[in-house]
């Protein structure tokens, strides 16, 4: 029996998982339209690789990664691209993101599929493959999976995260029950890529069916993987906390699990990786729990881009539903509208009503009771962070490790004064980020301005030097002239010099686009130049007779 470790804090909210595990995972009917966000992953926005009006096949690349930290996006089914524009997506700000709208033709016509045998691939080639297949973490953060295969230290332990600690969500649970063999296969691919010494499945002990199914699949595969039931505690599914429970290692603040020789993948991701390698299918669908205030809660395998309203219609929302939460009640976000599309990170959609999720009573002052510090899994002092955040004392908040907060919401859950603590931390974080950005922008602007000043100064100096140089040349040319020259001569000399300068300037100012012209055009230009020279001559001549203009 493996020795398990504990982490500080944690809570035990009501699980509410039984509702959505009575029925097996169902496939959603093909929707008529899909709205596919170009920003479904952590990192940079993907670039559309198709045009409006183009017909695409199932699995065809429609968005290329927008940078090294980004993910590819594929057409979940065949159809015609009807629009590429900004649409409201699942983001609390309700700000629109670039989306591709796909009119589904219902033919499910597959494009090319690139199945690979993982045993022939090294880590780097697998990274390239997963990147091309648009595989991202399905646990919630949607971190590109190829990035997670990068490591500098040898990976000792590979952890498959099936904890699923958030209440209400059961998509990983059902996936483990029904597709355990595929998950184990995905784990084997990852073990191969990372060359990990041991593979551990961490599953919370409130999912005995999933534990049994995975254990059965592991036994069947004859792989030396270990299936471990971990205590049910929120947020035990946080990667860093699951690593702590299973290995006793604490991933240092600001570091990655690979820095302590561990890597952690969600079981759903392992399933996606199996499909990407063995079947050559990019990430086109995901399992999502539809639950809450619905007649029939259930898990569905839905195409990316399906609108939540269609999923909710399958579950039949009850009439008193007044809002929708994507994700769990602890960390999920309230959707701006039910019409927004499913993204790779959407693990759950909860229809919420005031009866099911009563609005919290009004917040009272903090009495520093430190219930929050008792449950904080990051071992922070939430009461201090709250104090600094609400008084806009952001420097102090950072000093008290604001950015180590994982926003799990355990503090707000236990707060006897009902303070929405996480709101304050999010506010402070976004303020700090905004200020950082502003500062960087200001720094850049200042640098640019300083550089411009410098350039203007330099050009001025260069001009002055050029002038001085010319003066010297002129002086040198004028020097050999006879000293006894008459006034008339000197004047003539100056005029000649001026003419010379004018000519030089004209030559310098001559545009270069007259090089390759027809002979007629060149003749015309020559005529114009001659006339201009003539005029200059006249001007110079008349100028020679002129007296200095009188001051009137």
């Amino acid at each position: 029996m493996r020795r398990l470790f504990t982490f500080h804090g944690g809570i035990h909210p009501p699980a509410n998982k039984a509702q959505s595990t009575t029925l097996p995972i169902a496939h959603t009917p093909l929707p008529e339209m899909l709205i596919i966000s170009m920003h479904q992953h952590a990192g940079e926005i993907a670039k559309p690789a198709v045009q409006a009006g183009e017909r695409v096949l199932k699995g065809q690349l429609i968005g290329t990664p927008g940078g090294s930290f980004s993910a590819a996006i594929h057409a979940p089914t065949s159809g015609t691209i009807s629009a590429i524009d900004m649409q409201v997506v699942a983001h609390p700000s309700s700000l629109p993101e670039l989306c591709i709208t796909l009119q589904v033709d219902g033919r499910e016509e597959w494009g090319e599929r690139h199945a690979v045998d993982y045993r022939n691939l090294g880590n780097a080639e697998l990274q390239t493959h997963l990147r091309a297949q648009g595989v991202v973490g399905l646990g919630g953060a949607a971190f590109p999976s190829d990035m997670k295969l990068r490591h500098t230290l040898p990976v000792q332990t590979l952890i498959l995260n099936g904890a699923e600690c958030e209440p209400w969500i059961t998509c990983d649970d059902m996936l483990m029950r029904e597709r355990a063999a595929e998950i184990v296969r995905g784990a084997e691919i990852l073990r191969h890529a990372l060359d990990a010494r041991e593979v551990l499945f961490g599953i919370e002990d409130n999912k005995p069916e999933a534990i049994a199914a995975i254990q059965h699949a592991v036994d069947g595969s004859r792989l030396p993987f270990e299936v471990i039931a971990v205590p049910t505690i929120y947020p035990g599914g946080s990667a860093k906390h699951l690593i702590k429970m299973l290995t006793g290692l604490e991933v240092p603040s600001g570091k990655l699990p690979t820095d302590v020789g561990v890597q952690c993948f969600n079981v759903g991701t392992a399933h996606g990786i199996k499909r990407a390698c063995d079947d050559g299918e990019p990430l086109l669908t995901r399992v999502i729990t539809v639950t809450g205030n619905v007649v029939q809660a259930r898990n569905y395998e839905a195409l990316i881009g399906t609108r939540f309203s269609e999923l909710l219609a399958l579950g039949q929302t009850l009439p008193d539903t007044n809002r929708y939460i994507m994700g769990g009640p602890m960390m999920g976000l309230e959707l701006p509208a039910a019409e927004v599309p499913l993204v790779k990170a959407s693990n759950c959609i909860i229809a919420a009503s005031d009866a099911l999720f009563p609005p919290p009573p009004p917040a009272l002052p903090c009495i520093r009771c430190t219930r929050c510090a008792d449950v904080c899994p990051a071992e922070l002092q939430p009461q201090d962070l709250y104090w600094f955040s609400q008084s806009n004392n952001f420097g102090k908040a950072q000093e008290f490790h604001l950015f180590d907060c994982i926003e799990c919401g355990a503090c707000a859950y236990v707060c006897p004064s009902n303070i929405p603590l996480v709101h304050y931390y999010r506010y402070a974080k976004s303020e700090i980020r905004a200020r950082d950005q502003e500062k960087r922008a200001a720094d850049l602007a200042r640098e640019r301005h300083e550089f411009r000043q410098l350039r203007i100064e330099r050009e001025k100096q260069e001009k002055a030097e050029r002038l001085a140089q010319k003066e010297r040349e002129n002086a040198a040319r004028a020097a050999p002239a006879p000293v006894a020259a008459s006034d008339e001569d000197t004047r003539q000399m100056r005029i000649n010099a001026a003419l010379e300068r004018a000519k030089a300037q004209a030559a310098a100012a001559q545009p270069k686009n007259i090089d390759h012209l027809t002979p007629e055009q060149q003749a015309e230009i020559a005529a114009v130049e001659a006339r201009r020279a003539h005029l200059h001559k006249i001007a110079a001549d008349s100028g020679a007779d002129d007296e200095p203009p009188k001051q009137s």
């Binding site: 603040s253 009272l364 520093r368 510090a373 990051a378 201090d384 490790h401």
Partner: protein, 326 residues
């Protein structure tokens, strides 16, 4: 905070058993004053009144202060103390959650400094014989300052066990002789030791229901015990036993109900230990070498002042930064 009030009830019940029901009148007076002043201040500060009155924090302040004031003191004494605690020490600092000092202890400090004479009107335990006022006579004194004909105040009140100890030691008596006086019981003052035990019982309830953490009460009592123990071993004729210190004065109510006010005490575990140890040392010092018979109030207030610094310097290592500190 309702459960904290409930936890005070065993102590109050024993108080009534040994000293008569006068304390209930002070508790009522204090409660009414606290709720009234709190309501007025909330109104003046344009804050919602109902949620803040129903959080029981004003009542707790009132009860703690009423239990620290002699029941035979004139009625206005407890009213002034509670009003000062609520108006100045709590609401003027920003109300619930913003007061740096324990309001009840500020109220007590104001009374003991401003009205030292009235603060000595402690009733002698009923079992000790001598003259006893009926409840009606006590009330007549509290509200109209009238004693039954032929009685002086000295005949019906006594100084507290801690006070007597201090005075008698000054007069050159040894601890052994002093402890023979009728006001003393097995551990400390007759009657008052049982009241202290009642508060300890309520405190244990708070401890086991995890309403308070163990750090503050146990470290405070431990420090007090150690201090008293060292001095007692060194010179038992002049320094009473640690148990005497535990069961006299406000040690028990202080350990479980006063120091544990979360608002005015540190938030970190290490900070709580420092805070409680400091309060224990100060309490002993004030009791034995200071000018006041008991030291809980001043020790609490002095340590309250240090809370921001204690908190700032006792920040625990966070998840993922423990190795970095080693």
């Amino acid at each position: 905070m309702l459960r904290v009030l409930l936890a005070l009830i065993p102590g109050i019940a024993l108080y009534v058993w040994y000293f008569g029901p006068a304390i209930l009148v002070s508790l009522t007076l204090a409660s009414v004053t606290a709720l009234a002043t709190e309501a007025v201040m909330l109104k003046l500060r344009a804050r919602p009144i109902r949620p803040f009155l129903s959080d029981n924090s004003a009542l707790l302040t009132a009860w703690l202060l009423a239990l620290s004031v002699p029941p035979l003191a004139p009625w206005w004494l407890v009213v002034v103390g509670v009003a000062f605690a609520i108006v100045v020490a709590k609401q003027l600092y920003g109300g619930l959650g913003s007061n740096p000092f324990n309001p009840a202890m500020i109220g007590y400090a104001v009374l003991i400094i401003s009205f030292p004479h009235e603060m000595t009107h402690w009733i002698s335990p009923q079992a000790l014989g001598g003259v006893h006022l009926s409840f009606a006579e006590q009330m007549s004194y509290v509200f109209r300052h009238m004693l039954p004909p032929g009685l002086t105040l000295d005949a019906v009140t006594m100084s507290t066990p801690l006070d007597t100890l201090k005075t008698q030691l000054h007069l050159g008596h040894s601890v052994g002789e002093i402890r023979e006086l009728p006001i003393y019981g097995r551990l400390a003052g007759h009657g008052s030791e049982m009241v202290a035990a009642g508060f300890a019982l309520g405190g244990l309830y708070l401890l086991f229901t995890r309403i308070i953490s163990w750090h503050l009460p146990l470290v405070f009592l431990g420090t007090l015990f150690t201090m008293a123990g060292v001095f007692h071993l060194f010179d038992p004729a002049h320094y009473v036993t640690p148990l005497f210190h535990w069961f006299s004065g406000a040690a028990m109510i202080g350990a479980f109900f006063i120091l544990t006010d979360p608002i005015s005490s540190p938030t970190t575990a290490k900070g709580k230990i420092i805070f409680a140890a400091g309060a224990g040392i100060l309490t002993y010092m004030i009791r034995v070498f200071g000018g006041f018979p008991d030291g809980i109030a001043f020790a609490t207030i002095l340590m309250n002042m240090c809370v921001p610094i204690i908190d700032a310097y006792t920040q625990p290592a966070i998840f993922g930064q423990k190795d970095a500190k080693k």
